[in-house]
Symmetry: D2
Subunit: 218 residues, 4 copies
C-alpha cells in the first residue's frame, strides 16, 4: 500500500513568518545512545530546512526528562512537564515521535498524552483549545509491525486536542517479521525517505496557511 511514490513539489504559500517546529522524541533510550526514532525525526527536520530555511527546530528527548505519572499540570517540584508544555505552546508544528513496543506507542508517548489531558481540560473550561491552528505529524520506528495502528491511535488523540492533520501526516519504518530492526535498512528505505519529505512539505504548507488564515473563535 505504501509503495514508493514519485517525489513532487508544491507551490509553497509562505506566510512570511518563521515557524517553530518541536519534536517530542519518546524513544526508550537515553542520550547519547542512537535513537532510530530521533534519527528519522532529524531527517524530517532536514527536509523542512531545505524547503524553508527560516524554520527553527528542536528535538526533546523525553527519556531524559522527569515526567512523573499523573494528571495534574504539575505533579511535584521535580516535574519537568510544565517546561514541555511551554515548548508545545510556542511551537507551530509538533512532531510526535515514538518507537513501537509490542504493537503500541511507547510508555513515554503514552505519558505525554496522559499529561496533555490537562490542556484538554483547559479547552473544556473555556471552549478554546490552546492547540488550534497548530499542525501535527507523527514519526514512528519499530523493528517490525505496528506503525499504522500506532499512527491512527495518535492521530485520533491529536484531532481531539485541536491539531490540524495534513495529508500524509506521518513517516515511519518497520521491517520484515522476524528479521526486524536494522538501522542501515531504515536509512536506505526509499518509502521512508519519501514519507519524510512529504511530511516536511505538507506540515509546513498547512502551518503557513493557518498562520495567514487561522480558525478563529469569537
Amino acid at each position: 500500500m505504501y509503495k514508493t511514490k514519485p517525489a513532487s513539489e508544491c507551490h509553497m504559500h509562505h506566510s512570511g513568518k518563521s515557524l517553530n517546529v518541536l519534536v517530542l522524541n519518546c524513544s526508550l533510550k537515553h542520550e547519547p545512545e542512537l535513537s532510530n526514532t530521533g534519527e528519522l525525526a532529524q531527517l524530517v527536520l532536514d527536509n523542512m530546512k531545505e524547503i524553508d530555511t527560516d524554520v527553527s527546530t528542536e528535538i526533546v528527548r523525553m527519556s531524559d526528562l522527569n515526567i512523573p505519572v499523573g494528571l495534574d499540570f504539575k505533579e511535584n517540584d521535580a516535574d519537568q512537564w510544565p517546561e514541555v508544555v511551554k515548548k508545545i505552546k510556542a511551537a507551530d508544528i509538533i512532531l510526535f515521535a515514538t518507537p513501537i513496543w509490542w504493537g503500541e506507542r511507547s510508555s513515554l508517548m503514552q505519558r505525554v498524552i496522559e499529561r496533555m489531558d490537562a490542556l484538554d481540560e483547559e479547552y473544556i473550561a473555556n471552549g478554546r483549545s490552546a492547540l488550534y491552528n497548530k499542525v501535527a505529524g507523527v514519526i514512528i520506528t519499530g523493528s517490525e509491525d505496528g506503525a499504522l495502528n500506532v499512527m491512527g491511535s495518535i492521530m485520533m488523540v491529536l484531532t481531539w486536542l485541536g491539531f490540524t492533520l495534513p495529508p500524509e501526516c506521518a513517516a515511519y519504518w518497520v521491517g520484515e517479521v522476524g528479521i526486524g530492526g536494522d538501522t542501515e535498512k531504515r536509512r536506505m528505505n526509499k518509502s521512508t525517505m519519501h514519507m519524510a519529505k512529504n511530511l516536511a512539505r505538507n506540515t509546513l504548507y498547512y502551518s503557513h496557511l493557518l498562520k495567514q488564515h487561522p480558525l478563529e473563535m469569537k
Copy 2:
C-alpha cells in the same frame, strides 16, 4: 475525556464557492430501516446548512449498492463502485460514516477502503492524489465501545489517501457497557451534538480554505 465543551463560533472564510458534501453511510441495515449512523450524519449535514446555506449534500447508503469484493476499479458489469468513485471525485468534503461491530468498522466501510485502493494506485503511478484538497470527517455509532479505535484506524487511511483532517474531525455515539444502544439516548447526548456541530464547522472552514489555497503540485 470528551465531555461537553461550550459551543463557539468561528469567523468563516467563505471561498465564494458552493461545496459538495458526500456521506458514505456504511450501516449494515437497508433502507428504509432506521440507521443510527445515517441519522447522526444527517445532524452533521443540518449543522452545515445552518452555517453555509449554499452547501449541497448527499448520503449514499452503501448496503443498498452492489459493491463486490475485489481490488480492481470495476470488478464486474453489475459493480456499482465506479458510480461511488464519481461521487467521491466530485465532492469537496467526504464523511465516512460507519457503525461499530465487535470493536471495528463495518464490513461495508472496510469494503469501501479496500476498493479505494485503486485510487491509491493511481496516485502511486502519477504522484498526484485525486483526493488532495478534499477534507474528510468520520461519523461513528455503536451500542457500546470502539468509537475511538474505529476513528483512528479510519483517519490513518484517510491521511495516506490525501485527505485533510481538520481539528475535531469526528462525531460519534456509544453507550454504557451492557446497556448499550438506544436511539433516544443518542439523540439527547450533548457531547454528540457538540461534536456534530464542530465537525460541520471545521470541515467547512478547511474546505473553503483549500478551495482558495490548494496544495498544488508542479
Copy 3:
C-alpha cells in the same frame, strides 16, 4: 520482538479422539488465484498432520461463497452462511485466516464476525456458548504492517464468543515498509515457519485437553 525462537517439542496428551480443523480463509482473491493467507494456513495444517495423523482438515474460501451483509442467521435464500455455521459447530479447532488491508482485517473476515453475532445472541439467550471448548488460532498475511493489531482485535472477539486461545495462538507474515508483499520471502521466513509450527502444536494440545476435560455448565 518476534525473532526466531528455537523449535521445541511437547508431550502431546492425545485424547484418543479425531479432531476436526476448519480454516476460514478470508482472502479477497477468488479460486484458483494464489492466496498467501491460504498458503500459510496450509502450512499450519501440514504441521498439524505431522503431529497428529488423525486430524481432519478443511479450508473454506470465503470469497467464493455468498455471504450477504446482515445480522440474521439467514439473510435470504441464496445466503450460504448457515452452511458455514454448520462447519463451525462441527469443528474442534477453527483458524481465522485473513489478509491485512489498510491495517485491518479484510471485509470478508469482518463479515464473518458480524454474521457470528447470531451465535452470540444464542449464548445470551441460554447462557451456554456453542463455541465453548473449541480452540481458535489466527493466521494473517499482509504486504506490510498491521498483523499484531489485526491479531489482537480478532482475539478479543474470539474470547467473547467462547473460544480458548492457547499460547502463541497465531502465525503471520508481513514485509518491510515500501518493499512489501513477496510470496517467496514469506515462504522462506523462519519466524513465520516457527509460528506455524507452534500454532499447530498448541491448538492441538489444548483441543485434546478440552476434549478430555471440557468446561461444563450445569
Copy 4:
C-alpha cells in the same frame, strides 16, 4: 454485543493445588486514592474466593513502585521491576488491570509490557517461556470507550509471552460518551458483574487444568 448473559455454573476440576493470583494494577492514581480499576480487580478476586477458598491473592499498585523506563532486567539500583518479576514467576494466574487513557492502556501498563520484554528474550534464548502454563485475564475501566481495543492489544502481547487465555478472559466497565466515569454506575453494572464472575470462574478452571496437564517441552 456484551449484554448481560444469564449466570451459570461449571463443574470445577480442582487440581488439589492452591493457586496464586497476582493483579498488576496499572492505575495512574496512587494509594490511598480510590482506583476504579483496582476495585473491579477486587471484585474478580472476591468471586474467585467464593469458588475456590484456597486461592491466595495479591494486588500490586504499580504507580507506587519505581519502574524506570528501559529494556534491561534491572535498570538501576532503585529499580523495583525485579521484585515484580519474582511475583509474576510465582503466580499461576495474572490479571493485567489498566485504566483507559485516550483509547489505550495506561503508560504504566505499557511500561510493564516493555519491561516484560526481558522475559521474552529469555524465551528466545532457551525456547522455554517462563510463562507457559500460566493463565491471564484482563481488567479495564475507563470513563468511556476503548475497552475492547485495549483488551485485544493486551491479549496479543499475552499470547506471545506464553500465557493461556480462557474464554471470556476479561472484565471491564466504560460509560456513555460525554457522560463518562461514575464509580456508582460501574458498581451497579450487571454486565460488568457478570464478566467479573465468568473471568474468575474461567481463569481458575484453566489454571487447575494446566496444573494437572501442563504443556511440557522436552
